[in-house]
Amino acid sequence: MSKILSNKWLVLILALGVWAAYFHTMDWMLMEAQGLPVQMSLMPR
């Protein structure tokens, strides 16, 4: 664990992944709660 923490670039990549997952989930939940399409194939054009 401390090895991972000591490599700042590795932390950056991991953090990018974690935050991407967080924001994606948040978007999904908020859009779904409003009854809006959340998949690209369902998007109105």
């Binding site: 923490l5 932390v11 935050w19 948040m26 809006l36």
Partner: protein, 589 residues
């Protein structure tokens, strides 16, 4: 025996409840008593029923007095709110500087308080004189609540004077808790006053508790109070007041900074200016979201009203609003960037300022880009249509939402850079923590941009929906950054902050803030009130006075500007008065 902290907080809570309960209870009792009355509709005055006094324009008079009263009231209500927080921080940290600053904030409030009452009284007289039918109807709807308002006003005066004048007598130990309790009562009463006044204003926009066809009072006072727009306006004004109060006392600090020659006094006012700017930004960051909720509720209540505001005659005023908010953001950021020079480490952050400036200025330009232009036939021909092919898309809401959210995120970044410039983290995971924050900014901003793009390719209902993840993204960046910083800066090595090491030019940014805020409040207050168009009480009581029309943008702009200038003149007088109060003549030898 000393009480523990929980008991003290509980006691404060009980005190607050005691102040609030009678307010609601009396209003309900009033309604119950009068429930048996015969139903009489809203008055229908003719043009001849409106008193004419000389060549006086009733609407402009009422407009001016109402706005002046509101500016002063917003300031007078806001300052005790953050003064008590500062007093509490001073008590917790045992740092007397906070306590002294809170006391000084209250000193400015005291000078402005009597003027608030003066304008409030003048406004009431103007309304009763020129709009007797409307006022009679409002009194029938709100009944005893007017008396409760008067009672609360008396209580506000008493608690304000006690809070201010007992400051030094109740400064330490348990006495301090007693003093803060008085402050809490003062704030509770102040907020109750604001909530009641908001009920009257919002009832005129979205009446409830009355028969929609005739305007006859069929509900209780509470039903009229809790109309659809009451809580959105309550929240919006509550937050806006804090930002406004912060901006005004920031102007005072700048005035004192520029007027003083002694280095230690300049340092004090520099610190005061920084704190005030912090309060103004802290209040300002969530403000657009509260405004968004208010606008959404206006649309939900009446689509017509919403369209009048944002797609009709008042829409162009929102472009002026964008200019003013952009000015506030530029001034607040500029002040923070200048502040980096207060610490020796601050210079290392200066290289990032230009990138933040690009985002803030870019966002500002997107925000002020109008969608529909007023064009001549030749201009339309030259343009190739009514909308510019590149700039046209920047005029719609997804672009503006993206711009404003990015501006807020980068304003917070300026603030974060400043508070980090005086602290060196000592935790072993500091570098990793910084990377987590950088990743948060990258993904959060990307999400804001993508939600904006999603808004472009979808119909209107989706555009509105897509703005919600943008708001939550902005708040997430701010909240998570603060949480990580709290842990990372625990036990951090403090760098010396050279308070007073600020350019005089930076202080003018602190002057810009209250001026732009005042103008903005005047503008938005005018829009909110104009939404009723030719109604005194929307859809219930028609305005038949000679002034029942929406003025041109130029006329409205001029009136708002004159009111803003008048208020700023009063504020300069209040600042001068506060300075005069602390000046002593040297005894002649």
């Amino acid at each position: 025996m000393a009480l523990n902290h929980t008991s003290k907080l509980f006691a404060l809570f009980i005190l607050a409840v005691f102040v609030l309960v009678p307010d609601v209870a009396f209003a309900a009792a009033d309604a119950a008593k009068e429930a048996g009355e015969a139903l009489v509709g809203a008055p229908k005055p003719t043009r001849a029923d409106y008193p004419m006094i000389g060549g006086l324009n009733a609407r402009t008079l009422a407009w001016g007095f109402a706005q002046m009263h509101l500016f002063l009231a917003a300031f007078v209500l806001a300052v005790p709110m953050f003064s008590i927080v500062m007093e509490y921080i001073g008590h917790l940290t045992k740092d007397e500087r906070y306590d002294s600053m809170a006391h000084e904030f209250m000193k400015i409030t005291m000078s402005a308080y009597s003027l608030t009452a003066l304008f409030g009284g003048t406004l009431a007289l103007t309304l009763f004189l020129f709009y007797p039918h409307l006022m009679g109807y409002l009194m029938k709807v709100f009944r005893g609540q007017f008396l409760i308002y008067a009672l609360l006003f008396l209580l506000e005066s008493v608690t304000l004077y006690i809070y201010y004048y007992s400051w030094n007598a109740l400064r330490y130990g348990n006495r301090k808790w007693f003093h803060m309790s008085i402050g809490l009562v003062l704030n509770t009463v102040g907020l109750s006053l604001m909530f009641i006044a908001n009920a009257w204003a919002t009832f005129m926009m979205s009446p409830s508790g009355v028969d929609p066809a005739t305007g006859a009072v069929i509900g209780t006072v509470w039903e009229a109070t809790r109309n659809p727009l009451w809580n959105p306006v309550n929240l919006h004004r509550f937050i806006a007041n804090i930002a406004y109060g912060g901006a005004i006392v920031g102007g005072y600090a700048a005035y004192m900074f520029l007027a003083e020659k002694r280095a230690e006094v300049k340092a004090h006012y520099d610190w005061m200016g920084y704190t005030s700017n912090f309060i103004a930004i802290a209040g300002f960051l969530p403000l657009p979201f509260a405004g968004y909720w208010l606008m959404a509720e206006i649309y939900a209540y009446s689509q017509q009203m919403g369209i009048t505001a944002m797609g009709g005659i008042l829409a162009w005023l929102f472009i002026i609003q964008a200019v003013l908010i952009g000015t506030i953001m530029l001034a607040a950021n500029y002040y923070l960037w200048c502040g980096l020079m207060r610490t020796d480490r601050g210079a290392q952050y200066a290289k990032y300022v230009k990138y933040i400036a690009v985002v803030i200025v870019g966002g500002f330009l997107v925000w002020v880009t109008p969608h529909s232009l007023i064009l001549t036939t030749d201009e339309i021909r030259l343009l190739g249509g009514t909308h510019h092919k590149f700039l046209g898309p920047l005029g719609i809401m997804p672009a503006k939402n993206t711009a404003v959210n990015l501006m807020l995120v980068f304003t917070f970044l300026s603030l974060q850079m400043f508070y980090r410039s005086s602290r060196v983290p000592t935790v072993s995971w500091a570098k990793a923590g910084n990377m987590v924050i950088i990743a948060l900014y990258i993904i959060g901003c990307t999400n804001i941009v993508f939600a904006g793009l999603y808004g472009y390719i979808t119909p209107t209902v989706y555009k509105v929906g897509a703005s919600v993840p943008q708001v939550v993204s902005t708040l997430s960046i701010i909240v998570f950054s603060v949480i990580i910083d709290i842990f990372m800066l625990r036990g951090a090595k403090s760098e010396k902050v050279h308070w007073g090491r600020m350019s005089e030019r930076s202080q003018y940014a602190l002057f810009v803030l209250p001026v732009a805020f005042t103008w903005l409040m005047g503008l938005m207050g005018y829009i909110r009130s104009s939404l009723r168009t030719h109604w005194h009480v929307y859809t219930v009581m028609k305005d038949q006075s000679p002034d029942a029309y929406i003025p041109t943008i130029g006329q409205a702009g001029n009136t708002i500007t004159v009111i803003t200038l008048s208020f700023m003149a009063i504020m300069v007088f209040v600042f001068w008065l506060s300075r005069l109060g602390s000046t002593s003549q040297v005894k002649p030898s």
